[in-house]
């Protein structure tokens, strides 16, 4: 059987060997923990504690601020120090709850109690997941309870666990599957119990043979769960690429995985679901990879959410050289940080620090139309033509060229011999188009309201 894969993509420098064999270390910190109210996609959460309150680890400190929004729980016991805007990994200030830890990590009563799936109804499970504040841990951070509530449970044919970890450098999902595969498989069983017709698939890239073996061993005898081995290629773990590689079904930007009968969850999300449903533990800790050639001792660590990155780096031995670039997340889609005093949030996955900044060091030329980006684009877009239209400010043409389908994976910028900032141009253009569309909608709504008001007045 051939390896599951998709058309396009690139095989980047992997760099996983830096931290691949580093077992996950548990680290504890005292001091301030920061919980931004906006973590991932959706409306900001609403704080339900006040400054001066004493909170326990696992206590709910903010509730969803809308339908697509998530609960936030405290990961430590201590006093609420402030509720104020704090710098986050996204580079902006976001309303956050700051809690000073008392160093005791006293937990809310009942945490860790074993529960059996048989005693829970589907509604119970969804409620538990919602109350545990679980969001997609792969990157985008879409609230999981929304994802797990499609229109019709019977229409879901596949539950796909995303264990591809296609970003270079990152190894925390790999270590999770090697060290605690039972959490991943357990989470899969919980999700499968929601969908009567679904098959569980754990999709792993073929550069993680140890993880494949572990999971295969664990699911021996399970009729409904299987492992699919995928070719190591970026962006294999992109939702659309993953669904296609595993099931052959295609979705576009306007569709949800559920439209193709799929639910996709990162393996770390499944582990969190397992903790919440079976172990009665809301999301408080996260596995993070700290790696890169500027890090003295690359590691995989498990830390409590809310801790600033800078302190983790310090705790594992710091930098051995001044890094030229620090990235939150993977090198292909992560955010460059100018300050590491930003908290780890639920959808954080890594911190990479590099001695050289390849972007600043590469010298570009004009586009020579070599077409490498066209071959590499997993969405089959034509970056050379799109980028010219964006540079001309021709956004209509950009939309016509399916620019809004771009998944911003960075493949085109990576492969470009002329070192053109293609992905950056497309991100910017997408934002502009979205802003224009929002403004249009707002204008239309205002117009309709005004007309209605005028009509009401006449009556």
């Amino acid at each position: 059987m051939g390896l599951a894969t998709f058309r396009g993509g690139v095989h980047t420098y992997e760099g996983k060997n830096l931290s691949e064999y580093c077992a996950i270390k548990e680290l504890e910190f005292d001091g301030d923990y920061i919980f931004p109210m906006s973590q991932g996609i959706g409306a900001p959460s609403k704080p339900i504690v006040a400054v001066g309150d004493y909170v326990l680890a696992g206590q709910k400190i903010a509730e969803p601020g809308g339908f697509i929004s998530a609960v936030v729980t405290s990961s430590v016991s201590g006093t609420v120090k402030a509720i104020e805007p704090r710098l986050t990994t996204m580079g902006s200030y976001v309303q956050s709850i700051v809690i000073t830890s008392d160093g005791l990590f006293k937990e809310v009563e009942g945490i860790g109690t074993e529960r059996s799936l048989d005693d829970l109804t589907k509604n119970d499970i969804r409620n538990i997941i919602k109350e545990a504040g679980i969001i997609g841990m792969g990157g985008a951070g879409f609230p999981t309870h929304v994802k797990l509530a499609p229109k019709n449970d019977d229409d879901i044919d596949y539950v796909i666990a995303n264990g591809s970890e296609c970003e270079p450098m990152l190894t925390n999902d790999h270590r999770l599957m090697v060290e605690e595969p039972e959490r991943v498989v357990g989470g899969m069983k919980v999700v499968l119990s929601l969908f009567p017709n679904a098959k569980g698939i754990i999709a792993i890239e073929n550069n993680k043979q140890t993880a494949i073996d572990k999971i295969r061993h664990l699911i021996e005898g399970e009729k409904n769960i299987s492992v699919v081995v995928m070719r190591t290629k970026y962006p294999e773990g992109g939702e659309r690429q993953l669904i296609y590689a595993v099931t052959g079904r295609k979705i576009n930007s306007k569709m949800l995985p559920a439209d193709a009968g799929c639910v996709v969850d990162n393996v770390a999300t499944l582990a969190a679901i397992y903790d919440a449903v079976i172990k009665s533990t809301p999301i408080m800790k996260k596995n993070i990879t700290i790696t890169g050639d500027a890090i003295a001792d690359p590691s995989n660590v498990r830390i409590r959410l809310g801790v600033p990155y800078g302190r983790i780096v310090e705790a594992i031995g710091g930098y051995h050289t001044t890094p030229a670039k620090i990235i939150c997340g993977g090198p292909m889609m992560g955010m460059a940080l100018f300050d590491t005093n930003v908290p780890v949030v639920k959808n954080s996955s890594a911190l990479c620090a590099f001695v050289h900044d390849e972007v600043a060091e590469s010298v570009g030329t004009h586009c020579v139309r070599c077409g490498r980006c066209v071959d590499a684009c997993p969405i089959f877009l034509i970056p050379p033509i799109m980028s010219k239209e964006v540079e001309k400010g021709n956004l209509d043409k950009f939309v016509e060229l399916n620019g809004m389908e771009c998944i911003e994976c960075g493949t085109c910028s990576y492969i470009c011999p002329a070192k053109r900032p293609l992905t950056q141009l497309f991100k910017q253009a997408k934002k502009e188009v979205q802003a224009i569309n929002r403004a249009k909608q707002a204008a239309e709504k205002a117009k309709a309201d005004a007309e209605k008001a005028a009509a009401d007045k006449k009556d």
Partner: protein
């Protein structure tokens, strides 16, 4: 301020990794791919062809440098694209051409065709082919004189001319390049080595060369009354293989979409066949590619593929 600068790391939009591939690397690989034909040319026609190549390349690079200096533009000779243009142009020269002719051509290619339209990546026709056609019109006597070496008029009739005169041509000689012609086009063997190198190095996809040669082959097969011998002679004589390897698939002047590339190659192939068969000029390959170049913007526009997951039925 100085201290802060040291502490603050760089920020930029993702991705933060870049491949090691550069435009210069691509261009140098094309130059390496051309070495077999350069060497064969010197071996077959005599070392004078090396003088032609070196002078043409030097003129092309100098023209780019001087133009950019005069126009206060950034100097871009480092990307090595001028070397490629110079080399392709010199490979298009008859072996005994006075060296000033390709040098004039190089200036025309770089200044008029490439730089006036904005330099690398902005020209809409291939500079080397445009210069070749320009020289053909301007100095047609010199450009059509294929005598070479110390034996005057040793063989001045190219295979194409011989076919037209109804003479027999040896296929093996055609293949290894033991025939008169321009410096670069005679040895099909060396051209194949070059193109295999470029495909192996991932510099080009074989899409355009294969479709182009295939189209010409089918065209000639039909026109020649379904005679495979006639078809092979046609394919192996003149600049068709050279054009397929180094001119038709020029990045800048061919479409970027897969479908567009196929349409472009088919168009060039048919035009080559038509010019070869029914026109008195021998420049079938060059003119057809120039015409193809002009169609590129349209071909790109009509061949935008469907994005992933768009259109098709929902499963």
């Amino acid at each position: 301020m100085e201290e802060i600068k040291k502490i603050l790391p760089n920020v930029s939009s993702s991705p933060h990794f870049r491949s090691t591939l550069t435009t210069r690397r691509e261009m140098l690989d094309v130059c390496i791919a051309m070495l077999p034909i350069v060497i064969w040319g010197a071996f077959h026609f005599g070392p004078y062809t090396l003088v032609i190549t070196i002078c043409t390349v030097a003129t092309a690079v100098a023209a780019e440098y001087i133009y950019e200096k005069l126009m206060h533009l950034p100097i871009t000779i480092g990307d090595c694209s001028a070397i490629v243009t110079g080399m392709i142009l010199s490979m298009n020269m008859p072996p005994a051409i006075p060296v000033w002719v390709p040098m004039v051509g190089a200036v025309f290619a770089i200044v008029v065709v490439k730089q006036l339209y904005g330099g690398l990546g902005q020209n809409f026709i291939n500079p080397a082919i445009a210069a070749r056609c320009f020289l053909h019109i301007a100095y047609s006597g010199l450009m059509n004189d294929f005598s070479y070496g110390s034996f005057d008029n040793m063989t001045s009739a190219t295979p194409l001319a011989m076919i037209r005169a109804g003479e027999e041509v040896n296929l093996w000689d055609l293949f290894i390049g033991n025939v008169p012609g321009t410096i670069g086009e005679v040895s099909k063997l060396c051209l194949l080595i070059g193109i295999v190198y470029m495909i192996w190095r991932n510099i080009i996809t074989p899409r355009i060369p294969i479709v182009y040669i295939g189209t010409v082959a089918i065209f000639m097969f039909i026109v020649g009354g379904f005679d495979p011998y006639y078809m092979l002679i046609q394919l192996m004589s003149g600049a068709i293989i050279f054009a397929a390897c180094f001119m038709a698939n020029d990045y800048v002047t061919s479409p970027v979409t897969h479908q567009g590339q196929i349409l472009y190659a088919i168009f060039c192939g048919i035009m080559t066949g038509i010019i070869r068969t029914w026109s008195p000029t021998a420049e079938g390959a060059s003119y057809s590619i120039l015409l193809g170049n002009l169609l590129v913007p349209i071909l790109d526009r009509i061949s935008i593929p469907k994005a992933f997951g768009m259109g098709g039925k929902k499963k």
